[in-house]
Structures are given as C-alpha cells and as structure tokens.
C-alpha cells in the first residue's frame, strides 16, 4: 500500500512538467490552430538554458532566477520563430505547419549538440529542496512535492490569466473566431505572437524544472513531444484543464504501468488513449467541432490517367533503370536499391495523403512492421526470402488494420498526432521487448536468397517489386475505390450521402498504404541484412513526409520523384556534413515556405500555365461557371 502511494506521488511529480508542456501546446493550438511540433525542442532548450544559467550562478537566486530567465529567453526565441516563420504559413494546410515546426525541431537537435556537446548533462539540485522526507519508511524527494504543488498553481494562474485579464478574454475570443476578433479592431498578429510566446515559455519552464530530477539530453525533445501528443489527444486540444487532467492520468499510468508490464509500459497509456478516442474522439475536455479545414489542396487541377506518350516515357525510365547494373558498381547499386525501397515507401504514404487526405506522421510504423515481420519469419520460422517478403508485409497490414481503425475516426491534426503516437508505441515495443526483437541490438542475419544476394540481383528484385507496387497504387487512384476515397477526402458528408462509407473507405486506404509500406520495409530488411528499431522511428516517418512534399502534395505520383531526389540528396549529405539534421531541417522549412507545391507540382503548374485573363474579364470569359449565390 505504502509503495503504491510513493509510486503515485512520483507519477504526480512527473505530471507537472508534462502538464506545463502540454498546456503550452494546447494554448498555442487553440488560437493559432498550429500544432507546434517544435514544442519538444523548446522544452529541451529550456532545460539546456537552465542548466547553463544555474551552472554559472549558484545559490537560491541563481537557481530560481536561472530557471525563470532561461524560460523567458526561450520564449523570446519562440516569439522570433512565430514572427519569422509561422506568420508565413498560418494559411497553409496543417501538414505544412507540422512539417515546418518539425524542421525547426531537427535544426534545434543539431544546434544543441553544437552548443552544449553530445554528452548528457547533470544539473544542480534545487536549493532548499535537496532533501527527502520519510513517508511510511520510504523517501520522497521534497523537490517532487514542490512539483506536485506547482501543477495546480500554474493551472490556477492560467485560469486567472484567461478569465481576469483583457488579454485572456481576447485570446479566448480568438480561439473561437479569429476573423471576428480582428473585425472588432484587435491586431491578431501580436495576439498570436504573445500567445505563442506564452506557450513556449510554459514548455521551456517544464524543461527547466526537470534539471534537478533528470539529466539533460539532446534527445529529450522527441520523447516528451510524443507524451505531450498523447496528453492533448486524451485531454482535448485547446483545453488547459484537459491538459492537466490528462497529464496526471498519463503520468500515473506510466508510474503504475511499469509495475504491471515492466517491459512495455507504454501499452497501458495506449489502451487508455484508445478507449478515450472511441468514446470521445475529441478528448475528455475538448470540443467536438474543431472546424474541419480544407484538404491538403492548394489549387485545383483534376487528375488524369497517363496518356500513351507519358506511359511510354515511364516505360523508358524503367527500362533505363533496369539497365543500371550493366554500367555501375556495387555501391551505386546498393544505393539504387535503397532509393527504390524508399520510392515504394513514399508512394504508399503519398497514396494515403493525397488521395485519402490522411496525412500520417507515423507511417514508419508499417514500414518497420514489414521489416520486423520479415525478420521474424526468417529468424523464428526459418522461411526463405520469397516467403518472408510475403509474410513480413502481413504484419504491416495487421498493424494498419488495428491502428487505422482508431486513426480514421479522427482527421487533420488529431489524425497526425495519433498516427505519430501509434508509431512511437510500436517503436517502444521494438525497443523494449528485447527477448523478441533484440531491442537496440536489432535482429541480424536477414539475408536474401542466393539468386538475389548479389547487388545486381537484389537491385532487379527491388526494381520489379517497386515498379509493380507503384503501378498498383496508381491504378487504385483511378479505380472506383480511388474515386470513393477522393470523395471522402473532399467532403465526407456528401460522400456518405451518396452511399459511400467514408470512414470505411479511409480505413481501407490506410490498410493499403500500410501494406505497401510493409512491402518496402520487408525489402529494406533484406537489403540491409538486419532490422533495428530505427525503421519505426519518427525520423523515418518524417523522411517519408518530406519525400511526398518534395515531390508534390497535389500530384498523383509525385512521391516517386520526391523519394529519388531526397534519398540521393540525403545519402550524399550524410557523407558531406556532420550537421545533416541542421541542413535537412533548413531544407524542410524552406520547402514549406518557398516551394510548397514540390518538384512535380511545380512542373505541372508550368505545363498547365494559362495565359492571364485580360483585365476585367472574369471567370465567365474563361468558361468557368459563375457561382450565383454569394453571401
């Protein structure tokens, strides 16, 4: 009994920081409608900045002052990011905002290592709270008690801020109707900036408060952001109270989950999240509405199947690719095979995103499940490569069936966050369940059959599989299923009204995409001869997103081009610089801001350029039906 109490107290202490970060994310989302992926990065920056300041200035004033100054400084950095970057993309589709803030996260990861070095740092203890007191014969750190009290205090202060100040009233009004607020004479620009600064301040404070408890590391950003996503999905985006309740819930589940299932403690949180999503898809304290935003589309140009000429061109490119082994060496071929694998991975994500309108931030889960599936088949059942290439993707399919069922109940940012959370749960299972997955050491010895064991042989195998895979995905786009999917994407209600089960169609698309990602993953396992948890990790998911974005979000098969360019660039970049994340993050941000239609989208725009309409001649002159009704 007393042990359980101690465990509960420890959970509550962890909840404090989680609440701070999650409430910051929620407040920012409420007003700006941006899910700030970089929130974890600000949490980490808060911890690092607090470490530096408290390290330099000792004593109570140095410590508490250091925490505060560090958080304020990081908030200023956040405000700068809002002014420089986010103001340019408030009107952009959600996916772009998530990607841009993720790009910032990547850059911060490298910058942090550059400034503070790669080693974990140990912060000072909090002056006056270094001891512990005894409870039922067990020791409870006094600092934990301080944190436990801090949570409700911050919740109360935020409540006062939002209900007793003009600024707070404006923020709450803007959360509901930004346009109306500006029509009443409020300059939203600075309202947004100040809200963003407050949210970042809370994240940084959450990080700074952690330094007496845990070491400061350069990967603490991704671990917290996933937990925060889970918290806001459970609590409801935009609700500070929801963030508080869910932070406590998740922290307690973590604290007790370790007792029940020490190996896979994330499972308990996942189960609770699943139940909440089924009962209240908008979270415990969220609101059902969350005004659905237009799909990823920026401009409208109907898709067409390829013309005979275009088909000929594609056939020629495939033929040239098939001839590559006659002219290049082994290294180029293994790079080529890797690029091919990612072409299929990106194409599967592209199918789900552009045709289905479902922007997944956790597509790596199905890629990795395919890879692990193939590895299990070889290691535990001793099947040959040919069979493993079939069995592996089945695991991806099963994962997509299970996770997809939950995910398609949501849309937009909720969908993105949930897919990410599922991927991260899958990752943590692969990482923690060492007996089965080998944990960090992975599974080795996944070699192809003799005929495909040469670089040439494997390249041809990969080419064959990938060409067929991409062709099938493309055929699906122009099949009745593809039309239904596009209908569900463009208007779920209208699709339902003409007899399409929108959710079911999207679920099917999710499963198709997951299965093809699984095929890519299984190929990847045999290409590398091994499987590691990295195949399931966030960077893998984001690689896929960047490939899709680079190729062109509105195109039918732009991801193919995007994958080739991106993967070739990334492999080259890795060999050129230590700061690949900094460069990559910068490229992502640049892409989103300056080049949002991608390579293929850009080319298509150029091909379909219309002569500008003469002045005064409206769409009528261009043969476009005029919309009569206007509000």
């Amino acid at each position: 009994m007393d042990f359980l109490l101690i465990q509960a107290l420890s959970g509550l202490a962890s909840a404090a920081s989680l609440f701070l970060v999650a409430s910051g994310l929620s407040i920012i989302f409420g007003v700006t409608r941006i899910v700030n992926f970089a929130h974890g990065a600000f949490y980490m920056l808060g911890a690092y900045a607090a470490f530096t300041l408290t390290d330099r200035f000792a004593g109570p004033l140095g410590f508490w002052g250091g925490l505060l100054v560090a958080s304020l400084a990081v908030a200023a950095v956040g405000a700068l990011m809002e002014v420089v970057l986010l103001r340019r993309i408030y009107q952009a589709p959600e996916l772009f905002q998530l990607l841009a803030t993720f790009g910032v996260t990547l850059m911060v990861q490298d910058l942090v290592v550059l400034i503070w070095g790669p080693d974990d740092l140990m912060g000072p203890r909090a002056p006056g709270f270094t001891g512990a007191f005894s409870l039922f014969g067990r020791l409870v750190p006094t600092y934990d008690i301080l944190l436990i009290l801090l949570g409700p205090v911050v919740l109360g202060l935020l409540w006062l801020l939002f209900h007793r100040t003009r600024w707070g009233v404006l923020v709450r009004a803007a959360t509901q109707d930004r346009e109306m607020v500006s029509s009443l004479g409020v300059n939203q620009k600075w309202l947004f900036t100040s809200v963003f600064a407050l949210g970042v301040f809370l994240a940084a404070l959450g990080g700074a408060l952690q330094i007496p408890r845990t070491t400061v590391t350069h990967y603490m950003d991704l671990s917290i952001i996933v937990e925060v996503f889970v918290v806001v999905v459970i609590g409801g985006l935009g609700s500070v109270t929801g963030a508080f309740v869910a932070a406590v819930l998740v922290s307690e589940l973590n604290a007790f989950g370790i007792l029940v299932l020490p190996k896979i403690s994330m499972i308990t949180v996942f189960l609770v999240m699943a139940v909440v999503l089924v009962v209240r898809p908008w979270g415990l304290f969220g609101k059902p509405d969350a005004a659905p935003r237009a799909s990823a589309g920026i401009s409208v140009r109907p898709w067409k199947p390829m013309s005979a000429l275009e088909r000929g061109g594609v056939a020629l490119v495939v033929l040239l690719a098939a001839l590559l082994p006659f002219v290049s060496g082994s290294y180029a071929l293994s790079v080529g095979s890797e690029i091919l694998v990612f072409v299929l991975f990106a194409a599967s994500l592209h199918f789900m995103m552009t045709v289905g309108g479902l922007a997944s931030f956790g597509h790596a889960a199905y890629f990795g499940l395919g890879a692990y599936g193939a590895a299990f088949a070889v290691t535990y059942f001793g099947v040959p490569m040919e069979a493993a290439l079939v069995l592996g993707p089945v695991l991806g399919l099963v994962g997509a069936v299970l996770f997809g069922w939950f995910c398609v109940r949501l849309s937009g940012v909720y969908f993105a966050m949930l897919t990410l959370a599922f991927a991260q749960i899958t990752w943590s299972i692969a990482f923690q369940w060492v007996e089965v997955t080998g944990g960090d050491n992975g599974i080795l010895g996944i070699w192809p059959s003799a005929w495909a064991s040469t670089p040439q042989g494997f390249y041809w195998l990969a080419l064959g599989v990938v060409v067929v895979g991409v062709a099938v995905l493309r055929m699906l786009v122009f099949s009745p299923f593809g039309f239904g999917l596009r209908a569900a994407r463009d208007s779920g209600l209208r699709a339902e009204a003409i007899g399409i089960d929108a959710k079911r169609t999207q679920w099917a698309a999710f499963v198709v995409a997951g299965t093809f990602a699984g095929i890519a993953g299984a190929l990847f396992a045999f290409l590398k001869g091994s499987v590691f948890p990295e195949t399931l990790a966030i960077p893998m998911s984001v690689d896929g997103l960047v490939m899709v974005l680079l190729g062109g979000i509105e195109t039918v098969s732009g991801a193919v081009v995007g994958a080739v360019v991106y993967k070739a660039l990334a492999i080259w970049l890795m060999s050129q610089t230590e700061l690949s994340k900094l460069v990559l993050g910068g490229i992502i941000v640049l892409l989103v801001v300056a080049f949002p239609k991608g390579i293929v989208g850009f080319i298509e725009d150029w091909r379909h350029r219309r002569p500008p309409a003469p002045n005064g001649a409206g769409p009528e002159a261009m043969g476009i039906a005029k919309v009569e009704a206007a509000q």
Partner: protein, 234 residues
C-alpha cells in the same frame, strides 16, 4: 461623404461575386442595401471591412482610402461591422463579449459603455454573466450590435439585423438603430425586403447578382413597385 465605395470587384476563389459595386453614405445618414438572398449584400460588407482578401476597388472612409488596410485597422478607424450570422463568442459572457469589442474613446464620436448598451437593450442587462451560447437569437443579435458599439464607431454596417427575429424584437431593433442614428452614427443596413428598412432608412440601394441595380430614396423605391418586385423578396 462618410463612406464612398467604388468599383468593388470581389472573388471567392475562382468565383466572381461583386461586379463594380459602388455606393455612398453621407454623414449621419442611414442607408439600406437591399437584395435577395445571395445577391451580394454580405460580400459587399465583408469587402468593405477588409474580410475578403481577393478584391479590387476603392473604399474611402472619412476621406481616406482604407481598401488596402487589414480589418483591425479599418475597425480602429471607427468603421464597425455587425455580421449577419452574429458570430458572438459563445464561450464568453455578455460582459466578456463587450470587452473584446472595447476600444479607446474616439474624439467627436459617441462613447459607449456597457451601461449605455444595457440601457439600449435592457434584456442584456439582466444576463451580464451568461455565456453567449446560452442566449436566444434576439438576445444574440442585441449582443453582437452592442459588441460593435463598444468600439465607439462613427459608422456601422449592420448585416440583416432583423433576420429571423420575432416582430416584437424587430421593433426593439428599429428603436435601437434610431437611437444610434440620433447619436450621430452613419449606418448601412442590409435587408432582403423593404418592411424593416423603410422604418429607418433615408436612402436605398438594390443589389442583384453582384451588381447595383437601383439607387434612390425610400420614397422613390416605394413609388416604383416594379423595381421592388423585380429585385426584392416580398
């Protein structure tokens, strides 16, 4: 002239909605913008206050071209806007809704305090702490007008203020608009028919399919039943 609008062309995406719309409002005048559902009344208002990004044309308010200004700048110059769908903040109380609209006093213009608005709409005074979402349609209409008045505007665009209201509330609304006029406010109201507009307006414009089709006094409009029947709802 208080407000001069000319050559207004507005688009929603590819759709051309307004075609060279123009109208004028004199100091202290009440002008009606009449037209059927979908004729372009709301788009005209939204274009004037800067809420339609894709538009061209000129909007001159108090002698200054405001057509390139963001909505909040236009509002701060004293041009208030009351939207058709009311758009009150449902989570906020009556008092808080007023707080969002509050602006500094403007020299030479009537200054509004919550107490003055409660005098104008006594119903609101009895529900100061009630969230906007828990109010009737008529009360919400009063709230949205009061909220705009809190910005101490010298001119107000009222988009279909009588729509969907009980006759008794409509009367109250007409009284309130007359009070606003007496305070020196210039007012444009949009309506689908003449019933309400003729109670309070000096002049009227008729808009149809995005074009201004008629301009004249209320008397002229009443003397021309064929125009009324061609363009207005009965």
């Amino acid at each position: 002239m208080k407000l001069e609008v000319s050559g207004l062309n507005s688009f929603y995406g590819q759709a051309h909605i307004l075609f060279d719309v123009g109208f004028e409002v004199g100091e202290g005048e009440v002008v009606a913008l009449l037209g059927r559902n979908g004729a372009g009344k709301s788009t005209s208002f939204r274009s004037v206050v800067g809420l339609v990004p894709n538009r061209s044309g000129k909007v001159v308010f108090e002698g200054e071209d405001v057509s390139r200004l963001p909505p909040y700048e236009i509002a701060r110059r004293g041009l208030g806007y009351v939207p058709e769908d009311r758009r009150i903040f449902t989570e906020l109380t009556v008092e808080e809704n007023f707080e969002v609209g509050r602006q500094e006093a403007r020299p030479g213009v009537a200054t509004w305090m919550p107490e003055r608005i409660y005098a104008l709409f006594p119903n609101l005074g009895e529900m100061r702490k009630r969230p906007g979402g828990h109010m009737s349609g008529g009360e919400q209409q009063m709230l949205t007008i009061g909220r705009t008045l809190m910005g101490n505007p010298s001119m107000v665009l009222l988009d279909e203020p009588s729509e969907g209201l009980a006759p008794k509330i409509v009367e109250q609304m007409a009284d309130a608009i007359m009070t606003m006029k007496k305070e020196g406010l210039s007012i444009v109201i949009s309506e689908q028919n003449l019933h309400f507009a003729k109670l309070i307006s000096d002049r009227a414009y008729i808009i149809e399919k995005g074009r201004i089709r008629f301009s004249g006094t209320i008397g002229e409009l009443e003397a021309n039943p064929e125009i009324r029947d061609a363009y207005l709802a009965v």
